[in-house]
């Protein structure tokens, strides 16, 4: 405790210099925490989007995720209703949703366009996916309508000159390799925020899609769990008990999430590294001057029996006081920024390939705060060791003669 008191007094010895180092440390810490918190917010958002889109655990036929299909639904999952009922009874499973992925042409009678479709259990699927599929016009369709109803992407609706209530025709290849068509009514116009998808998206009732494709199979069953963290455990258990099917977690299928995460980890990791180097040099500058000014004092302390490592320890403690103070101040700044952004309502511009922006928010993470604080203090301590180790081993007579 005495040593810490001495360190604190030494830090206050040159207040302006110490304050400068502390401010640099504080701003660096805040930058890492705000940047890191933004990355965490992005990860959480994308995680949520990815998991809601695919389901926490997805099962398909053995070759569904790896094989190519010669005809639609060649790798579809048969006997889906029984499996769906079995999976729905598993503990922790909130919903099991069958889905069909299909494609074809959509026509308004005058012009046609390629579509990429999803066959879903309409009401449940829209509810589970939540706001992800935003309705620009209309509403979720009803499976029991006389003519099959669909929702289409807003850009596809524009291309097809379709509005809510418009009649269109879906044309697709059946499981037998023939062409089949079905007349549909547009019940909703949606946007997922990605123009490329909004130009192609058709969402239809799974029963209508099965009729169009002449199949009773589904592409996948998506399991939604009460606790997303159980995804790996549930997937592992299913893979063990159902070797005839292929099982994937949301993370396996979330290539965009993984790419963004890898990119941000590098960007923010490099930013954090640069900031730590700046903190290191600020501390080297501050403590280097302190060591130079106190050379004679170091000689005195060495003369009366202080070991070199004890001299270094004293400077490391001083660095820890400045670094720790800076880290705490930086945490306070980052905390204030985090709270301010909650109320500021700032929107980020749409990322490349998307049509909608997203709110600028910063997540709080105790682990990130602790790790950043520890890294800043460690960088400060390293700087202190660096500048004081040589001075502590300087010949005592030289140090005492230093002017």
């Amino acid at each position: 405790m005495k040593w810490l008191v001495f360190a604190l007094r030494n830090v206050l010895r040159n207040r302006r210099r110490s304050l400068t180092a502390l401010l640099i440390t504080a701003i660096g810490t805040a930058a890492v925490l705000v940047g890191g918190g933004f990355a965490l917010f992005t990860y959480d958002s994308l995680r949520e989007v990815s998991a809601r889109d695919s389901g926490h655990v997805v099962v398909g036929a053995r070759d569904f995720f790896t094989g190519d299909e010669d005809v639609p639904m060649q790798n579809g999952l048969g006997g889906a209703a029984a499996l769906q009922a079995e999976l729905a009874a598993l503990p922790g499973v909130r919903a099991v949703l069958p889905r069909i992925e299909f494609s074809g042409l959509i026509s308004n009678g005058d012009k046609s366009a390629v579509f990429v479709g999803r066959g879903v259990v309409a009401q449940t699927d829209f509810r589970v996916r939540g706001v992800q599929t935003g309705f620009v016009a209309g509403e979720p369709f009803d499976a029991g309508a006389s003519l099959p109803e669909i929702a289409i992407g807003k850009d596809l609706a524009r291309i097809m000159k379709a509005n809510v209530g418009s009649g269109l025709t879906l044309l697709s290849t059946t499981t037998e390799g023939n062409l089949n068509a079905v007349d549909v009514v547009v019940r909703g116009i949606v946007s997922v925020g990605v123009p490329e998808i909004d130009r192609r998206l058709v969402i239809a009732d799974i029963g209508a899609v099965q009729k169009l494709l002449l199949t009773d199979k589904v592409s996948t069953l998506s399991l939604y769990l009460s606790d997303m963290e159980q995804s790996d455990a549930v997937a592992g258990s299913l893979a063990a008990t159902h070797p005839q099917i292929a099982v994937r977690t949301w993370l396996d299928l979330a290539s965009f999430y993984q790419a963004v995460r890898a990119l941000y980890n590098r960007i923010f990791g490099m930013l954090g590294g640069i900031i730590l180097v700046i903190v290191l040099f600020a501390m080297v500058n501050t403590l280097g001057m302190a060591v130079a000014e106190r050379t004679r004092e170091i000689g005195t302390l060495r003369a009366i029996g202080t070991r070199p490592d004890e001299i270094v320890r004293n400077f490391v403690l001083e660095a820890a006081v400045i670094g720790g103070g800076g880290a705490l101040a930086g945490m306070a700044i980052a905390g204030a920024v985090t709270i301010a952004l909650l109320f500021a309502g700032i929107q980020m511009p749409p990322p490349p390939g998307r049509s909608t922006g997203y709110p600028l928010l910063v997540n709080f993470s105790a682990v990130l705060y602790a790790a950043t604080g520890a890294a800043v203090i460690a960088a400060s301590a390293l700087a202190a060791w660096w500048v004081s180790a040589k001075a502590a081993r300087r010949p005592i007579t030289e140090a005492l003669a230093h002017v």
Partner: protein
């Protein structure tokens, strides 16, 4: 018969000043008995500071031997010499060399902290030392709140608080007015004798030499 507190035998030490070697000590032999106070005098450049540095284990001789309490010193590693300085040697410097961010009490306590003395014992010994050097009640002051004489009293207390076997004092009155210097000389003499500490005092001050048991004169790196 007890071993000398310190013994130097044919100690030589030279430095380089550019390309020229400077022979600071040309073969100095000296014995200091426990409790003996020896004044080291001589003109500037005679080698006084080098003798003090060698005696205080701050510098190693080029050749010759050193013993403390009968134990040879020169084959010992630096860590061992540091331990000996910590435990057995007290220093009083001409410029006081107090740590400015430490109060008088803290400065005096510092050697005891290094020795790992328990807190209660440290407090008792610091209070006693402050009392003995006439600074009772001033322990909370920083060095720059003390006069030159008071600072040197703190430095003497710091040197003696651990009851060392040897005190090295380099011109302890050099920065003091004559009245204060006389008090400091008397104090240093009294306290070293009370504690049975040997002392080597480099000085130009005749009042200082009068208090010493023996005066050794150095000239051109040799004892005169």
């Amino acid at each position: 018969m007890s071993s000398p507190a310190l013994r130097l035998y044919d100690v030589k030490k030279s430095y380089r000043n550019g390309a020229e070697p400077v022979h600071a000590l040309r073969g100095v032999s000296l014995e200091i008995a426990p409790g003996e106070m020896v004044a080291l005098t001589g003109p500037s450049g005679s080698g006084k500071s080098t003798v003090l540095n060698v005696c205080g284990l701050l510098d190693a001789p080029d050749s010759g031997q050193r013993e403390m309490g009968g134990e040879p010193l020169d084959a010992r590693p630096e860590a061992e010499l540091t331990r000996l300085r910590r435990e057995k040697i007290g220093f009083v410097f001409q410029g006081f060399n107090l740590v400015p961010v430490m109060t008088a009490s803290d400065n005096i306590e510092y050697p005891l902290l290094l020795l790992g003395t328990p807190a209660a014992e440290r407090r008792r010994r610091v209070d006693d030392a402050l009392e003995r050097v006439g600074l009772a009640g001033l322990g909370g002051r920083l060095p720059d709140q003390l006069s030159g004489g008071q600072r040197q009293r703190v430095a003497i207390a710091r040197a003696l608080v651990k009851s060392p076997a040897l005190v090295i004092a380099d011109e302890p009155t050099g920065n003091l007015d004559s009245a204060t210097a006389a008090q400091i000389v008397e104090l240093l003499h009294q306290l070293t004798h009370e504690r049975g500490a040997a002392a080597v005092v480099a000085t130009h001050d005749d009042r200082m030499t009068r208090y010493c048991d023996r005066v050794v004169r150095l000239a051109d790196g040799l004892l005169a």
